[in-house]
């Protein structure tokens, strides 16, 4: 398949002008995209892949960014050399782009119909009536149900998946030759992600357009791309056809990236031996409801059952994975179990009934069950030093330690989670995402808890870091016999670390069982769909 090259990037370098001087973020990269093919730019955060994509449409702030070398040839024109008026003609009508976050990339004050019509009015010069007709056709094409009715809807009335379909409809309005998709499905649930990608694939054939796909997800790229460029720190370290690259990766970084897919860390006999372990946490008939109130008197007009008659148990040293899509109530369930959210039902921790205890009665017990959150950027107070963050729990639960002993214990714990012990006085913003998550883990394990609730602990991290953090968690579990409640939407992660899995949907348990059983022979249809969608099998 050797088609005409439509985009040719040659020796492109991009610099950001900062107060501290010029920073080179993309270095002499070369690649080209042929008509009708899907080219993927893959790399971890900060590798310069989005910067490259934005350069193609010249979407950077011209005052802060300069292109020190290279050219981007589209249609025998150097995009970097033409003036702004010509550029406006290219944007949207020849090359268009869809972004990662469908929640913020639509303007909330206009109806979606108006927004889809906009490029048609600008670039094609259609009349309003004709534009509306075509907009509705586009919406139909992208699989929006009842497009006539949805035409007048405002973005907040649509789900994330529907919004991304709208974005695609907008991008396709002028039948572009090249579509740039910057992490188009990262913010979506796995089942929706699959639908959107299949839609893109179908539309690509129909319009015979090229797609430049930017992604961090290797599985996704393997399934949907023809060519891959692997980027690292502004360089393209390797590029090749998909099959070839996955079969024989050349560059050490590519190999590292391919190896960082999580693998199962738990031997089968461990799961069996856990059958005889003590029960640490159990819950029966657990309910948690949210009320939607409306009107002047705040009447309850609707009840959401976030957690709906759940029962579960967790044994000592065991990892229970709770999976589900967004809105399935998995995070709420976790918070209910740790009494961070009000709920009804019986919760037992080490045979003690904790659901009726007051905040103060519960305080001494808090040492035993701890929590690590998803976003290491918001879970550490930005105005506290590492010493204060990690040491805070010690002051409450180990008041007998003096300042010196406390510091020694903090340093020991920092070393244990793979950090240096001389970072006591630094603030969270000075660390990378992975290091921050290690700080969050240190804060928790310093209390020697028996149970840790892990709420999407690796979702905000790059793949290679993700694997390290998972390995660390596993190591700590073996050393201290800690039980984990592992909440995630990422089935690959769950497969790697969980002994048992519980699948949730709309507050209810759909299926529960040992990890191997669930992954090899899921009984429920929902579980099967989830597995297909997330593993691209």
């Amino acid at each position: 398949m050797k088609n005409k090259t439509i985009l040719d990037v040659k020796d492109l370098s991009v610099n950001f002008d900062t107060l501290a001087g010029s920073v080179n973020v993309v270095r002499d990269i070369n690649f080209s995209v042929s008509a009708g093919e899907t080219m993927a730019l893959v790399g971890e955060s900060g590798s310069g892949k989005s910067v490259t994509a934005m350069s193609i449409l010249r979407l950077h702030d011209e005052e802060k960014v300069n292109y020190s070398s290279g050219s981007i040839i589209y249609n025998e024109q150097d995009i970097l050399a033409i003036d702004e008026a010509q550029m406006e003609h290219i944007r949207g009508s020849h090359i268009s782009m869809i972004f990662q976050e469908p929640m913020t990339s639509l303007n909330p004050t206009f109806t979606v119909g108006d927004q889809i019509m906009e490029p048609l009015l600008i670039h094609k010069g259609l009349s309003k009536a004709a534009a509306k007709k075509q907009a509705i056709e586009l919406m139909e094409l992208t699989g929006i149900p009842d497009p006539h009715y949805r035409f007048d809807a405002f973005p907040h009335l649509l789900s994330g998946g529907q919004r991304q379909r709208m974005m695609i409809a907008m991008a396709l309005a002028c039948e572009p030759k090249l579509l740039i998709a910057d992490e188009p499905t990262t913010a979506l649930d796995v089942t929706v992600q699959l639908q959107i990608l299949l839609l893109l694939e179908k539309l690509q054939k129909e319009f015979s357009m090229a797609i430049l796909m930017i992604s961090h997800d290797l599985n996704l790229v393997k399934r949907f791309a023809d060519h891959i460029c692997v980027m690292q720190e502004g360089n393209i370290v390797e590029q090749n056809e998909v099959q070839h690259l996955f079969r024989e990766p050349q560059d050490p970084y590519t190999i590292k990236l391919l190896n960082s897919e999580p693998e199962r860390m738990i031997p089968q006999q461990e799961t069996t031996s856990l059958n005889h372990a003590q029960e640490l946490l159990s819950a029966q008939h657990l309910y948690c409801q949210f009320f939607i109130k409306s009107g002047f008197f705040r009447r309850k007009i609707h009840t959401v059952n976030a957690v709906d008659n759940i029962q579960l148990y967790l044994k000592e040293g065991e990892t229970l994975g709770i999976v589900g899509e967004s809105g399935s109530g998995k995070s709420t369930l976790g918070r209910c179990l740790l009494r961070l959210e009000s709920c009804r039902g019986d919760i037992f921790f080490e045979q003690q009934k904790i659901d009726q205890m007051s905040y103060n009665q519960l305080r001494p017990l808090r040492k035993e069950f701890q929590v690590v959150f998803q976003d290491p950027y918001s879970s550490l107070s930005p105005r506290m030093t590492v010493e204060q963050i990690v040491g805070e729990g010690l002051q409450i639960h180990f008041p007998q330690l003096n300042k010196q002993q406390r510091r020694e214990k903090i340093q020991k714990t920092l070393l244990e989670v793979g950090l240096e012990d001389d970072i006591l006085w630094r603030y969270p913003h000075e660390f990378s995402g992975g290091q921050r998550q290690r700080i969050a883990i240190a804060r928790v394990i310093i209390l020697e808890p028996k149970l840790i609730l892990l709420d999407e602990p690796t979702s905000a991290l790059d793949v290679s870091v993700q694997k390290q953090v998972l390995a660390l968690l596993r190591e700590l579990q073996l050393r201290y016999k800690i039980s984990y409640l592992f909440i995630t939407h990422d089935l690959k992660v769950i497969e790697a670390v969980a002994h048992r899995v519980m699948v949730m949907k709309e507050g209810k348990i759909i299926e529960t069982g040992e990890t191997e059983t669930i992954f090899t022979s899921p009984k429920e249809k929902y579980t099967q769909n989830l597995l297909t969608a997330s593993l691209f099998k």
Partner: protein, 349 residues
């Protein structure tokens, strides 16, 4: 910037030390702080700098300390048994002639001492006797400025401190506990806020004898409300963040969460407004004095000087000097505030 430390050295410094380095890197704020501290510190010793009594007198082999003890004029060979007026040329001559000597303060007047021996009518233009002239009652302007500056700044600091403490407490309680607490307090604040402050002050000024204490109480009653709104908003934003939830999961008490986790992250509006609040308080006192509703008549006050300047429009030394002192003080405070805000932003390295 002249920061010679590299990144690793910087990382090994304590947090307070690094905040200080950040503060220092803003040169304008740093120098303003020095100037302001020196001015404030000096003005605290106003009695030694500007007074109508000498600090020390040696008169006929005896030492006298007029600053602490009152001596009748007869002690120094005068005719009356009343307290000595050391600015009287006759006495001055007595205690400085022969082997006698006296150490006078830099400026020979207190804020309320009247120059009875002026060569010019009051208000007198600047001269060797009164460096910045006198006001319409013959009191030395320089002395009144020094004492007035001290009073204004101390008044403003106290008023701001009270306002900040009340504002933070109310705002944080509202923002942390939300719900009914928030609802009720917010309504009370709205009612309280809609009271006409100036009229209340006028009414109270006519009921009670005006004094500094009364002014502090009255202005404090109203001064905290603007701030509590900002603290409340910051708490509302912060209370749902994960680090607060982690702290709760760790068993940190409500007070601990409020003051260790939320408050430091809510301090930006407090600090941003701090210098403006201090200068606002200085302005409040000045304008009340200007209107004659402020401090009792003999107290040295910048507002009273300004109003004299208005009454004697040709006596430029009254209005210009007071104006310069006011502008200078307010500017220094704002520069310090700016540097302070930058220093407390931990993300600045």
């Amino acid at each position: 910037m002249t920061m010679t430390l590299d990144k690793t050295q910087l990382a090994n410094l304590s947090p307070a030390r690094r905040a200080w380095l950040r503060f220092k890197s803003n040169r304008r704020g740093y120098y303003s702080l020095w100037i302001f501290s020196i001015l404030l510190f000096t003005s605290l010793f106003a009695e030694v700098i500007s007074n109508d009594k000498p600090l020390l007198i040696q008169f006929e082999q005896n030492y006298y300390f007029p600053l602490w003890n009152d001596y009748p004029e007869t002690t120094f060979g005068g005719d009356f048994v009343t307290k000595t007026d050391y600015n009287d040329p006759y006495i001055k001559q007595k205690i400085t002639r022969d082997n006698n000597w006296a150490v006078y303060p830099l400026n020979h007047y207190r804020f309320d001492s009247i120059n009875y021996f002026a060569e010019l009518p009051n208000p007198a233009r600047p001269s060797a006797q009164n460096l910045l002239g006198t006001d319409d009652r013959g009191r030395d302007v320089l002395a009144r400025l020094i004492y007035g500056f001290r009073l204004s700044v101390l008044f403003a600091l106290l008023l701001t401190a009270i306002g900040v403490v009340i504002g933070i407490i109310v705002g944080s309680l509202q923002g942390y506990f939300v719900g009914k607490v928030d609802l009720v307090t917010q309504r009370l604040i709205e009612i309280w806020n809609s009271m006409p402050e100036l009229y209340l002050l006028i009414i109270f000024a006519s009921i009670f004898k005006p004094s500094i204490g009364l002014l502090i109480i009255l202005l404090s009653l109203f001064g905290w409300m603007g701030l509590s709104d900002y603290v409340r908003a910051e708490f509302l934003r912060g209370r749902n963040l994960d680090y607060v939830l982690s702290a709760r999961a760790m068993g940190v008490s409500n007070v601990g969460i409020m003051f260790k986790h939320l408050l430091p992250n809510s301090m930006v509006p407090v600090l941003t407004f701090l210098p403006f609040r201090i200068s606002g308080a200085i302005m409040a006192l000045t304008s009340l004095d200007y209107l004659g509703l402020g401090v009792p008549p003999s107290t040295p006050s910048l507002g009273e000087l300004l109003s004299q300047g208005k009454d004697n429009i040709d006596a430029w030394w009254l209005s210009m000097t007071t104006f310069s002192v006011l502008v200078g003080t307010l500017m220094l405070l704002i520069f310090i505030g700016e540097a302070l805000r930058e220093a407390l932003d931990t993300r600045r390295g």
